[in-house]
């Protein structure tokens, strides 16, 4: 990618003591992107972020920022800025001093500092608190200080580590929208690090899913959800029914396979496959029918559990061979709810194109 602002090439980070936190990762992050590093706890995303900001150096590999390899450039010489998970707002400085700090240490003129700090505080709506000390502020306000402090530097890349994790639910929604809005107005590349898929899916334009130090897939939120490339990604992003399947043969871009508990069918699949695969179907793609449906893929089972969530109901159906299928039913009338009850025998069916064949 030629317009990549951050280009991570074969980066490995092994800590002394034998943990390989980041394992041969390559990633390109484009100018102006809202990029997310998503993965379960301990997958190495914080380590990767620290290497981008220069607080850690890779064991090997390159980190190109703005066209220059900066893998071993100290953090104060990089065009990146961070919003720390703990905010790290300096407790001995006022809000204004905190926001101005990064300008002051790089020798920006006092007038200019005052102007830019004013703008930045305006942007995060903290003008009224400019003279406060951090210990007189809430967590949300402190986070805004951290945000303003980083944005005022006009970095090429802004890194945010778990930006919403310490906020309560209401504040989290506000902040999520605010971050998206800010990213659009300032036109800076944002990279957020999170283990919360909702956070990543709702804000990011592209997401890298990491597991055990390696990048599993990089794609837009919709692509990740609808076209996960591995069991891990399918399972990690949203809910999914994973059905084991045995491949009999391959016919062009299709496979002839036997789904455990469902039956034999032909499904579309890219690439060569053989032996065991998994077929993933999202719960909302499954339909429930009382009478036997005409659909190509159908299976009969007993309703084991119905959970009512207001807008949807989650139904678990027990089919043959110990196969459990989760189905999300839209409660689109006020009458019925899911329309099924526990112990009832029903049919579950779905369209073949909603099946995702996973080889990894």
């Amino acid at each position: 990618m030629s317009d990549a602002i951050v280009s991570i090439r074969n980066v490995t980070k092994a800590f002394p003591g034998g943990v390989t936190a980041v394992d041969n990762v390559s990633l390109d992050i484009a100018q102006n992107e809202f990029f997310a590093l998503l993965g379960p706890s301990g997958c190495g995303k914080t380590t990767l972020r620290r290497m981008i900001s220069g607080l850690e150096t890779p064991t090997s590999g390159q980190i190109v920022i703005g066209g220059e390899d900066m893998a071993f450039t100290p953090p104060n010489k990089r065009p990146t800025n961070m919003v720390f998970q703990s905010y790290a707002v300096f407790p001995h400085m006022t809000v204004e001093q905190n926001v101005g700090y990064g300008l002051k240490v790089t020798g920006v003129a006092t007038d200019e500092i005052r102007r830019r700090v004013g703008e930045a505080l305006d942007m995060v709506k903290l003008t009224a608190l400019a003279a406060r000390k951090p210990d007189q502020m809430s967590g949300g306000q402190r986070q805004r200080v951290a945000l303003a402090r980083a944005l005022v530097k006009r970095p090429k890349v802004l890194l945010l580590d778990e930006p919403l994790s310490a906020l309560d639910a209401k504040l989290r929604d506000d902040m999520r929208m605010e971050l998206t809005r800010l990213q659009e107005t300032v036109g800076i590349t944002f990279i957020i690090v999170t283990h919360d898929q909702d956070e990543a899916l709702s804000m990011a334009s592209r997401i890298a899913v990491m597991d055990k130090g390696a990048v599993q897939q990089v794609a837009t939120p919709a692509e990740l959800y609808e076209h996960p490339r591995s069991r891990f990604v399918a399972d990690f992003i949203g809910k999914v029914n994973l059905i084991d399947a045995r491949v009999h043969r391959q016919i062009g871009r299709k496979i002839d396979c036997e789904l455990k508990g469902v039956g034999r069918m032909e499904l579309a699949s890219d690439g060569l496959v053989g032996g065991q695969v998994a077929v993933a179907v999202r719960p909302e793609k499954l339909k429930i029918a009382i009478a036997e449906p005409a659909s190509a893929i159908r299976v009969q089972g007993r309703v084991r559990d119905v959970a009512y969530y207001g807008d949807t109901s989650h139904v678990v159906i027990e089919a043959a061979d110990g196969l459990d299928l989760s189905v999300n039913v839209q409660n689109d009338t006020r009458l019925g709810g899911s329309g099924v009850e526990r112990g009832q025998t029903v049919w579950v069916h779905w369209a073949p194109e909603d099946s995702i064949v996973l080889t990894e």
Binding site: G54, L55, Y101, V105
Partner: protein
């Protein structure tokens, strides 16, 4: 914690012995000293008595302490202590800082190495320094190999300052270590991330945030320096008297106990002043001590 009234018998059993001891061998002696500081030697038959005193005669001893000669010595004690404290801070900060950022398995050993000399007899350590610095000492021997010296390095202010730094440096390391260890390192990372150089980060973030430890360490070193007797006595000789040496003279050679008592109290007031300063700092920096 229970109220003492719930169990007065246990309370008094625990409380009386140490309190009585402290009263008898500390408070009362200080009382004697206090009274003595306001007394004068008795005049018997027109002659100054050696052992008799007129008690509580007034402030003459304190007034005498403000004689330029003694003011000069007090001033010198203050600046020598201040200089020694500053040098302690300059050497102890990197040590404490380095230990905090050392690998965990090294920390206890490094700390032990710092505090161990502190446990070795002060006199022995001072003696060891004398052996190094005296005119026929090791340092002059080594300098002699490269054709320098010998220099007279003992019995001057420099020797006293060096001795004080040598002796009290561990006092400085411990409080500094404790605060730097507690300092959240993400503040330093944030500063670097925002473009601050290592030096700027140190001056504008690390130092202000570890100020409570610095204040503690400074006071902890300054107090014993100010009251030191042995180091100036052995390393400074007659050329580098400090207030402690003057006090000692009044009680030994000069046999002027009332004046010595007054000087002792002045020294104690200075000590309490330093402690009060530390207390004020601890109040002020409460919010910062993260």
């Amino acid at each position: 914690m229970e109220n003492w009234k719930q169990n007065p018998r246990v309370f008094w059993t625990l409380g009386i012995p140490p309190s009585v001891w402290l009263l008898a061998f500390f408070i009362i002696p200080l009382g004697f000293l206090f009274v003595m500081s306001f007394s004068d030697k008795a005049i018997v038959d027109g002659q100054v008595s050696i052992t008799g005193y007129d008690y509580l005669t007034g402030f003459t001893n304190y007034i005498r302490a403000f004689d330029p000669l003694y003011l000069g010595i007090m001033w010198k004690s203050v600046w020598i202590s201040a200089l020694a404290t500053a040098l302690c801070l300059l050497t102890a900060y990197p040590i404490a800082f380095g230990i905090c950022f050392a690998k965990d398995k090294w920390k206890p050993l490094l700390l032990l190495l710092v505090v161990l000399p502190f446990w070795i007899n002060l006199l022995i350590r001072t003696y060891a320094l004398i052996a190094v610095f005296r005119t026929q000492g090791y340092l002059n021997k080594i300098l002699g190999w490269v054709g320098l010296g010998p220099y007279e390095m003992l019995y001057n202010n420099f020797a006293v300052v060096f001795g004080l730094v040598y002796v009290y440096m561990p006092f400085m390391v411990l409080p500094l270590y404790a605060t730097i260890e507690r300092l959240d390192k993400s503040y330093l990372e944030a500063s670097l991330d925002l473009g601050g150089s290592q030096f700027q980060t140190f001056m504008r973030v690390t130092v202000p945030l570890t100020m409570p430890g610095i204040v503690s360490g400074v006071i902890l070193v300054f107090i014993p320096c100010l009251g030191s007797f042995l180091t100036p006595d052995l390393l400074g000789g007659a050329n580098a008297l400090m207030i402690g040496n003057v006090i000692e003279r009044q009680f030994k050679a000069a046999n002027d106990w009332p004046f010595g008592a007054a000087l002792s109290f002045l020294l104690m007031y200075a000590t309490f002043g330093a402690l009060a300063l530390r207390y004020l700092f601890s109040l002020r920096s409460k919010g910062v001590d993260v």
